[in-house]
Symmetry: C2
Subunit: 296 residues, 2 copies
């Protein structure tokens, strides 16, 4: 299984996810933007806006290669002269605050030295946390992980809790999920199986999100709830621009800015020192974000 | 002139600026939030919202002290055991897109070793750049600088161009202004004169902004112009969260998050790969942001 085959699988995954999400939305269609990278490779960035369910979303595919730059050497501690990277990255911002923001990414990286690894993750950022829905999400992730390695879920869930944390807010970004990196083959899991793990996770994305969306998309929404949604989106922007190592590395290493920042919402709000009412659903959500929860 | 006296002058400056801005706005009044810093000192953060002219703004004063932390030692290359810092920091987001966003900061820093310095800056971020207004702004800054040192304006203008640059957008944040740091006394400028420079700059802030505001606040606004304003605010958020060394250091070193992020607008927008119409005022503004201009 060579890198071209993996890239082709990633591109197929992107298209499959987009089809699933268009069906789920029922109105919006993805637009595709093809781009080339000066140093080698390129991508297809697919975005949509103003759907029934989704206000703004993107499903990006890229397959890039070239010399290992100074920034990559320093930030990623890479030892090699040239690299190849391919993957799919998704962020969806729904209209309805009772539907969560979702993010997923699966990627493959290899160096000319022969070293390779898979990475990725999926996490959910509800504007209002409903514990039953958080449990459902984590159960689904555990079921996928368990098909490949009984240790994956516990390990990758903790990794997500560590990764999706906003120190300056003393908050987790949402209810977490799984995050993994530097996955390579070992006696009980081949390279093919690791790719299969990434693809299984990716293929399950539309149905995982469909379940979450179904539980919230028809709920009525007040002006206060929309305000809260936009403040939570402000936190999402803060995480992505201040804390997210992937975003920071992408911007610093000369990645394609529009593809990287397709993760940002259409609208975000900030209000000085906003404090939710005592015992409100907003305050309840903040409490649940104050530390990583064990949902299962 | 000791640090307590400088802190008192900074506090007086904050109050004077707030009074000037309330007069300028004609409707909104500042609310004051007092806070303490666990390691020593504290501040008064003054914010307003929903004014006639200003949608959201803050004028923060702080005077903090304590041991030099590991982060400070590393990021600021400080050699000393304890520090004292005081200053005033301002960001104003107007309603009308024909009025620019403005930022100013003046600050004093000293170490227990006896080393001290002043720093600060002021810069303007018009949603629509009008060259005559940019020239006016820079003339005013040059006139203030020239009262103290004939080299200040040229030196500090270049420093601002370098500082207020967004590499991932290949854009300057706005039309720049002046930026300075590590100013200490030398044979022709005493410590008292440097403080006077900071205070003169600070005291001139309301009138500088009043002139800019007068040129735009009564102009009619279309829905397209509001959309453009919110996209430009998105860029402002990007600069502050991704590039601004002051914000990054503040968040990283455990500064008070709400006071640091009072710089963010009430609302900001993002749209995938937004391109303004050919020969539109929006495109003209982008052209003028593509590199630092010599306005004088």
């Amino acid at each position: 299984m060579n890198k071209e085959e993996i890239a082709a699988q990633m591109r197929a995954l992107q298209l499959q996810i987009c089809e699933g999400l268009e069906n789920l939305d029922g109105k919006a269609a993805f637009s595709e933007d093809a781009w080339d990278r000066a140093e080698g490779g390129g991508g297809f960035t697919r975005t949509l806006r103003d759907g029934n369910l989704l206000e703004k979303g993107g499903v990006a595919y890229s397959a890039v290669h070239g010399p290992v730059s100074e920034v990559m050497r320093k930030q990623l501690q890479l030892e090699g002269e040239s690299f190849f990277a391919t993957g799919v990255s998704i962020v969806l911002h729904p209209h309805n605050p009772h539907v969560p923001i979702i993010h997923m990414n699966v990627r493959y990286f290899e160096l000319n030295t022969g070293v390779y690894w898979f990475g990725g993750g999926i996490d959910l950022t509800p504007h209002y946390i409903i514990p039953e829905q958080a449990v459902l999400f984590h159960q689904q992730l555990k079921a996928i992980c368990d098909q490949f390695d009984p240790e994956f879920y516990t390990k990758f869930k903790s990794w997500a809790d560590e990764y999706f944390y906003i120190p300056h807010r003393n908050e987790t970004r949402g209810i977490g999920g799984i995050f993994f990196d530097h996955l390579h083959d070992h006696p009980s899991l081949s390279k093919e199986q690791l790719l299969e793990f990434c693809l299984t996770l990716g293929c399950s994305f539309p149905s995982i999100y469909a379940e979450q969306a179904a539980l919230g998309r028809d709920k009525e929404v007040s002006a206060e709830q929309l305000k809260w949604r936009d403040l939570r989106r402000g936190r999402y922007v803060e995480f992505n621009l201040v804390n997210d190592r992937g975003t920071k590395f992408g911007l610093l290493s000369g990645g394609r800015t529009e593809s990287i920042l397709m993760s940002l919402p259409a609208v975000a709000n900030w209000e000085y020192n906003f404090l939710p009412e005592l015992n409100s659903p907003e305050e309840e959500t903040l409490k649940l974000l104050s530390k990583a929860q064990n949902w299962l």
